[in-house]
């Protein structure tokens, strides 16, 4: 099967209604293909972490982990495990040639200061204007824990979200306005889901590609106004 939409640059929305929705692995591959060579990138915990599996060494992409490292390599195995070398999820990792370490104030200056090119995050909800909810479900008795989520949301030049399009109860996670607690306002530029890739922002939702559904099918199921690239 042809790699779905990887690296494709198009001015026209591409519909793939007759294939299956993207698998988790295919979605990670699509995101990886959209990251420009040479970018400095932060991959969030969970689904976004798998994007790293599809980055090739010749891309020159450098991974940042907010606990203080550039040039992060794959997860450490066996005797390479060092409790002092972990990623933001506290999983032992490795270092690549050219790696560097730095303290937290420098690490977050890299984000806030606009030095990171791309950040890929998971989300509970994204609004049509790019507001992000990914730190708190709003459940009353949950212990609040934000980590670097709010810093990441406002920091990178481009913020990509990877998520399933629908919650377990079937509701759309792409919404007109957030009902979950806000992580950042107007910060997300693109959303990658198994059913499609959409841009969000001041112009609302623009569909770039669909998988296992048509643009009209998305219009039927989502509570937001949807435009095509060619509109």
């Amino acid at each position: 099967m042809r790699a779905p939409d990887v690296g494709e640059r198009t001015d026209v929305t591409v519909e793939h209604p007759d294939r299956a929705p993207l698998s988790r692995d295919e979605l990670a591959r699509v995101v990886a293909g959209d990251i420009p060579p040479g970018s400095y990138v932060n991959l969030g915990i969970g689904r976004p972490t798998h994007v790293a599996d599809h980055l090739t060494p010749d891309s020159g992409i450098v991974l940042h982990t907010e606990n203080g490292m550039l040039g992060m390599g794959p997860v450490a195995q066996g005797e390479d495990v060092d409790p002092d070398l972990v990623n933001a999820g506290k999983v032992p990792v490795t270092e690549l040639p050219g790696a560097s370490y730095f303290h937290h104030a420098d690490s977050f200056a890299m984000m806030r200061g606009g030095h990171l090119d791309v950040c890929v995050l998971g989300a509970f909800q994204v609004s049509q204007r790019g507001d992000l909810a990914n730190w708190h479900t709003g459940v009353e008795d949950a212990i609040p824990a934000v980590g670097g989520a709010m810093d990441l949301a406002v920091g990178a030049k481009r913020v990509f979200v990877m998520m399933t399009l629908f919650a377990k109860d079937g509701s759309s996670k792409l919404v007109e306005s957030l009902t979950y607690p806000v992580t950042g306002l107007a910060c997300v530029s693109r959303v990658y889901t198994e059913y499609g890739i959409v841009d969000v922002g001041p112009d609302g939702v623009t569909v770039r590609a669909t998988y296992g559904i048509s643009v009209d099918g998305l219009r039927d199921r989502l509570p937001v106004t949807i435009r095509r690239l060619e509109d």
């Binding site: 982990t65 907010e66 606990n67 203080g68 490292m69 060092d82 409790p83 002092d84 070398l85 972990v86 506290k90 270092e95 370490y101 730095f102 303290h103 937290h104 104030a105 690490s107 977050f108 984000m111 806030r112 708190h136 008795d141 949950a142 212990i143 609040p144 824990a145 934000v146 980590g147 670097g148 989520a149 709010m150 810093d151 406002v154 920091g155 607690p181 806000v182 992580t183 950042g184 306002l185």
Partner: protein, 230 residues
């Protein structure tokens, strides 16, 4: 700069002190200094650290004594944060959640003599409620104030007799920032070397920010992390 043992290095921590504790999870956590603080007995503490303890050792052991009144951190909830979780759910500890970058920058500001700063992080969120905001150049910012401590407890790999520190990989995390932000900074290290044995170009934290050094030794550091010593 003084070279002391762990007990002497924390002997003057007062009741009601604000203690900055290095570490991201267990990476860079000053286990031996925390163990000494547990024995020392100071109470009514405010602890500033990225997380709120893992398992039963280190910061979790300090929390378990019930002598921490308030925790200021970015990410308390973890799979192994049961000590904190139980205290929080029974109303026995206060919690201030601060975005990770704000936590670092507030301490940086405290150490750098900055009165306050505007940051875009958390604008429009519940964590900015009640805080002053300002639009600067078309972007919205939240006013944040410095966060300093009476004492900082950090972990580094090596010190020289001038107090200069080098760290180890991602165990560096908050250490260099906290070292600048406390009245008294205590660093536990694997070893203290002569003043000419750390390349001045490689110094991460200059000795001016370090008041006390405790030579723990690598074996002891690892044993304390595993909870093998009191």
């Amino acid at each position: 700069m003084e070279v002391l043992d762990a007990d002497a290095a924390v002997a003057d921590v007062q009741d009601g002190a604000t203690v900055l504790v290095g570490g991201f999870g267990t990476a860079g956590m000053p286990f031996s200094l925390i163990d000494a603080l547990v024995l020392q007995g100071a109470g009514d503490l405010t602890v500033v650290s990225n997380n709120a303890g893992n398992g039963e050792t280190g910061l979790a052991a300090l929390l378990a004594t019930g002598r921490v009144r308030k925790m200021i951190c970015s990410y308390p909830r973890q799979p192994d944060s049961h000590v904190f979780d139980a205290l929080y759910r029974t109303g026995r500890i206060e919690l201030e959640v601060v975005p990770q970058g704000n936590l670092a920058e507030r301490m940086r500001a405290a150490g750098a003599g900055i009165g306050a700063f505007f940051t875009p992080t958390a604008y429009g969120t519940v964590l900015a409620e009640g805080k002053e905001t300002r639009s600067i150049g078309g972007r919205d910012y939240v006013l944040e104030y410095p966060l300093g401590g009476d004492v900082a407890l950090i972990s580094a790999r090596r010190a020289d007799t001038a107090g200069n520190l080098v760290f180890h990989k991602t165990a560096r995390n908050f250490g260099p920032v906290m070292a600048t932000a406390a009245t008294t900074t205590v660093a536990e290290v694997d070893e203290v070397v002569e003043a000419d044995e750390i390349d001045p170009e490689a110094v991460v934290t200059p000795g001016i920010f370090v008041d006390r050094v405790v030579a723990v030794g690598a074996e002891q550091r690892i044993a304390a992390r595993e909870g093998a010593v009191a």
